[in-house]
């Protein structure tokens, strides 16, 4: 079963993807436990090729389960350095272990300041608008 809390070293987007800055200056991208729960067991994954440039907020690929097709939206802009080979072989990792073995891709960020605009781990998932307390 997927974790139900975001690790503290991640930042999340409202589109249920996460980003984690790596020591080499790149950033790792995946989907959150909320997306994983919506999907159930992933069975198919479509990711961009290495070298492709992605823009924050735009669809970069998709994950399918038996009943759901989920569009993965990149939380930040950048160039694709690597697709997780493990998840390409076993798409179910994206939903069974979305914060660790199921990461999707690694990017060279175009603008590291974009991370500041994302939601902190402790504030995710964002509370729906209008919900008080």
């Amino acid at each position: 079963m997927a974790d139900s809390a975001v690790p503290a070293d991640r930042k999340c987007s409202a589109c249920h993807s996460w980003a984690r800055p790596e020591e080499d200056g790149s950033v790792r991208i995946g989907i959150t436990h909320v997306a994983a729960a919506i999907l159930g067991d992933a069975v198919y994954l479509e990711m961009p090729a290495e070298g492709i440039e992605l823009r924050a907020g735009e669809p970069v690929g998709l994950i399918e389960s038996s009943y759901v097709v989920f569009e993965v939206v990149s939380p930040v802009s950048g160039t694709v350095l690597e697709i997780n080979p493990a998840v390409a072989d076993s798409p179910e990792l994206a939903t069974s272990d979305p914060y660790r073995a199921g990461w999707l891709l690694r990017l060279r960020m175009a603008d590291p300041a974009e991370l500041d605009a994302l939601v902190a781990a402790g504030d995710y998932p964002p509370r729906p608008e209008g919900e008080g307390g």
Partner: protein, 363 residues
Amino acid sequence: MEQLKETPLVGRHRALGALMAPFGGWDMPIQYEGILAEHRACREKAALFDICHMGEFRYKGDLVAGGLEDVFTLSVASIPVGRSRYGFLLNDRGGIVDDLIVFRIAGDEAMIVVNAATAPNDFSVIASRLNGAAVFEDISNATGKLDLQGPMSRDVLLSLLGREVAAIPYFRFIETDVLGSRAIISRTGYTGELGYEIFLPSDKVDELWSTLLTYPSVKPAGLGARDLLRLEVGYSLYGSDLDETITPLEAGLDAFVNFDKKFIGKEALLAQKPKALSRAKVAFKVGSRRSPRHHYEIFADDERVGSVTSGAFSPMLGCGIGIGLVNPASASPGTPLSVRHGNVTLEATACTLPFYAGGSLRG
């Protein structure tokens, strides 16, 4: 919207954390742990399904004199007592009102097991074709149904109920005592595995469910896994692959139509039989892990030839699989097809059924 109906196990499902969703007017468990894990449990060990939503009718009286013999595409009177048979209830155009199994309980008694969503209509259609000389009643509310399916299902029932169960051949059943009540244990199912359908009083379902789940080899499984399991072995799903506009000939299910007897819809089928069908069932494998989905369009040589009626990713085959209705020329195994939806194109190849033949069904 009408209130969803609940099986006696709805509280158990919620306690197990099941994802619940409407199916055929019922609030049903789609998955517990996950569709893939539940699918694997059924293929490798044993899976337990709550199937209390399905309908059961009881007919008591002379099968021929009361009119039942002429209702379905199968001959009820020729089923030996203790066996069951699959067939159809048709409309006068030959369209499938429902697919069902008839159990020959006694010389003058039969139980008819039908789909949940169609049960109320089935009951009135069947009743309208009987002449009132026999008792015909809807026993769905009083009857619970649990399916135990998978290669280890026999060992589990053997341990729970004794040796009598181990000897039941495929499409036969026994009536026996289960937890102090009369139950029917039928060697049938919808998964392609060795398995049993257990009919028992609905007030005993909870106890049997809990008892079966105490066996380490048994996992609860939802309708999501059930749909995947049935598609891998090529079984049709009413409402997706079959409906009132589709005849058994188009659905490739001629084997379950007995033309040597009377039934409503026979004339329409006889008229359709000698002609080239305008559409036929096709089974196909996708060249990737991507799932074809209901209503996706099927193309051959860039021409639209039909549409998908069921599709999924098959864990056993490692690729997308589907069935659909197409122009018969495109249904031959080996035909290259492309399955399209919006800007999605899945390359596929027509194939034979079943997709997966390695099950323990006849084990």
